[in-house]
């Protein structure tokens, strides 16, 4: 107990040096917590954007379509017949169904031409699954049968288009002949997904099906599920398809988001490196502190040995001091981290200077918002204390093993 009292009291010695070590540890903790928050925020936003604006929770496609889906073929589509409709009925946790026809198109404004991703949708059902409609900044969503379309704000600016302008989409039909879809711009969206803003044109599903000559077929059926039902709904759907001998398969959004998930995995490795650097800073700070303290207190160590203190008792004095520095540094770091993360969750972090994040495979626009990851706070604090404890052992042992005679008379 007295060793603890002495160790804690020693924290008041060499205030400036202790304060520097505390602040270095605190800054390292702060930087890690901020980075962790931004990275997790980026991941969360990416996943939300993918689920809410790109894929839904589950995508149902023809088994042969999946591998080639990036090329947007018009082969191996899903024919919306009674068997398919029945397979989707009465599934617990399923909250929205949106058939989509995806196709390659060239957007023509009469002067310029731009390759785009065309999306034939049923607007009412589409809104059950996706939140795109919430991002309309001008005009309205169209209805089925209307020769109208919706496109992203960035694309509209690029092609100098506005509401009520007419555009032509040049498409290839299933039979590989050219056709066009002429629509009036009904609405312009500015969402948090860069691909929606700059690369997609939405048109009514029936208009697209007619133009592409695919009858009542769609590329995929996007499904929205209630939280926690993704796995069970996917399983039920696949069982239903098997039962009806349909060559369809349900895929989780995660399988569509391989790039973002790969980035997320890389991010975790990156955070691991940052964590290693943070701990290294802590270790060096603590070792430096204990070694300097031991050098300054050589005579005191000699006196302790003369009084009959055992090596481990002297070690414990230095360890208490080191742990004290670790705890104070960790607490200040966590406090600063909490303030930083609080600001990040409220005001976000502007990434527009870095250009279009979609180019890096990150479906986020302009701002990343941090998220609270309380486990990172606990984990880092506890790890910091443990590291302080272990990094002090060797220099403390070195101090405690000094020859008592040399220590007492070292001057």
């Amino acid at each position: 107990m007295f060793a603890m009292k002495l160790g804690l009291r020693n924290l008041t010695r060499q205030k400036r040096r202790n304060m520097i070590t505390v602040m270095v540890i605190a800054y390292a903790f702060f930087a890690y917590l901020l980075m962790d928050s931004v990275m997790n925020g980026m991941e969360e936003m990416s996943f939300v954007n993918i689920r809410d604006l790109e894929t839904g929770n589950i995508q149902i496609v023809h088994s042969d379509y999946w591998e080639e889906r990036e090329e947007l073929p018009l082969e191996n589509l899903v024919y919306l017949d009674q068997d398919v409709e029945e397979s989707l009925k009465n599934i617990n946790g399923l909250s929205g169904i949106s058939p989509e026809l995806r196709f390659i198109a060239y957007l023509n404004n009469g002067i310029d031409e731009l390759p785009v991703l065309g999306l034939g949708i049923d607007p009412d059902r589409y809104q059950e699954v996706f939140t795109t409609g919430e991002y309309l900044v001008d005009g309205l969503m169209f209805s089925l049968g209307e020769n109208k379309g919706v496109l992203g704000e960035k694309m509209a600016q690029l092609m100098n288009l506005k509401i009520n302008d007419y555009i032509t989409l040049l498409v290839r039909t299933k039979e590989d002949t050219f056709n066009t879809i002429d629509v009036e711009i009904a609405g312009i969206v500015n969402s948090t997904h860069p691909m929606v803003n700059s690369g997609m044109v939405f048109v009514p599903l029936d208009i697209a099906q007619r133009a592409l000559n695919v009858e009542n077929s769609v590329s995929l059926i996007a499904i929205k599920v209630n939280p926690g039902y993704e796995e069970s709904v996917t399983e039920t759907l696949n069982q239903n398809f098997k039962g009806k001998d349909l060559n369809l398969k349900a895929y989780s959004w995660r399988e569509s988001a391989e790039t973002v998930i790969a980035l997320s995995t890389a991010k975790k490795s990156g955070i691991g490196v940052v964590l290693f650097v943070v701990l290294l800073i802590g270790i060096i700070g603590i070792i430096n502190n204990v070694v300097l303290s031991a050098l300054e207190r050589t005579e005191e160590i000699g006196m302790m040995k003369a009084l009959g203190m055992k090596e481990m008792e002297i070690v414990s004095v230095f360890m208490v001091e080191a742990i004290g520095i670790g705890i104070i540094g960790g607490l200040i770091g966590c406090l600063l981290g909490a303030v930083g993360v609080g600001l990040l969750t409220k005001y976000g972090f502007d990434i527009s200077y870095a250009g279009d994040m979609a180019n890096y495979g990150i479906p986020i626009l302009n701002k990343i918002y941090g998220i609270w990851n309380f486990s990172a706070f606990y984990f880092l604090f506890i790890l910091g204390v443990i590291v302080a404890l272990f990094s002090s052992i060797i220099p403390a042992l070195w101090a405690a093993r000094k020859d008592p005679v040399k220590a007492i008379y070292h001057r």
């Binding site: 107990m1 007295f2 009292k5 002495l6 009291r9 020693n10 008041t12 010695r13 005579e299 005191e300 000699g302 006196m303 040995k305 003369a306 009084l307 009959g308 203190m309 055992k310 090596e311 008592p404 005679v405 007492i408 008379y409 001057r411």
Partner: protein, 228 residues
């Protein structure tokens, strides 16, 4: 049986390839309650002899017995235990812990051997501080005390655990003669009241004046042993 016995104790330091003998075969017996002074010129081996007696160092040859038990072949941990329970030290430079008060510096020594209730320890520490004339200064830190007061704290720290022997290496060297005399008088009083054995190394004629036994050390050997 003598409290302390040294038989043919030699201590040789290795400086590179050269062997430097500090003690050349000391035979000494000290009885309980003696007030002994070791004097001699610088380099005569006073401090080395004190270190052997205090179990801070072990001899190159010969044996050191405390209460009849040989201590010169014990491990470092065992020596630490011998020091903890049997020996008190007073250093020239006081060696107090600056972040502890006078009370806590004394308490520190007794806490190592005594696990009694806090109140009992407190009584003992306060009584010892009163004995050395520090009543009212218990809560001062070393930087708030004069040299003499610091040395009194060191004396209280050495005595509070009631050791068999108190070793003092030039305890008055950093004090003026008046303060030095006060500190020595306290030690004489403790020697008489508690029967504690004191062994000093010193150049100070004042301490020699109070000593009951004078050991003259020269070139690592006892050249004179005078009892008064």
């Amino acid at each position: 049986m003598a409290l302390l016995e040294l038989n043919k104790v030699k201590k040789i330091y290795q400086q590179g390839k050269i062997e430097v003998p500090a003690l050349r075969g000391i035979d000494l017996a000290v009885e309980q309650g003696e007030f002994t002074t070791i004097f001699g010129p610088s380099g005569s081996g006073k401090t080395t002899l004190l270190n052997m007696i205090g179990c801070l160092d072990i001899p190159s040859e010969g044996e050191v017995k405390l209460n009849g038990d040989e201590v010169s072949k014990l491990s470092q941990t065992e020596l630490a235990m011998v020091r903890r329970y049997n020996i008190g030290f007073v250093f020239q430079a006081y060696n107090l812990i600056p972040v502890l008060t006078a009370y806590e510096n004394v308490e520190f020594a007794i806490r190592l051997i005594n696990h009694s209730k806090k109140a009992q320890i407190k009584d003992k520490v306060l009584k010892m501080l009163e004995e050395v004339g520090l009543k009212g200064l218990e809560n001062r830190r070393p930087n708030e005390l004069s040299g003499g007061e610091k040395q009194r704290v060191a004396v209280a720290r050495a005595l509070v655990k009631e050791p068999k022997i108190v070793l003092a290496d030039e305890p008055t060297a950093n004090l003026d003669s008046e303060t030095g005399a006060e500190v020595i008088k306290i030690m004489v009083k403790m020697n008489q009241e508690l029967g504690t054995t004191f062994i000093f190394s010193t150049h100070d004629p004042l301490i020699m004046k109070y000593a009951k036994r004078l050991l003259n050390l020269k070139d690592g050997m006892i050249s004179g042993d005078e009892r008064r």
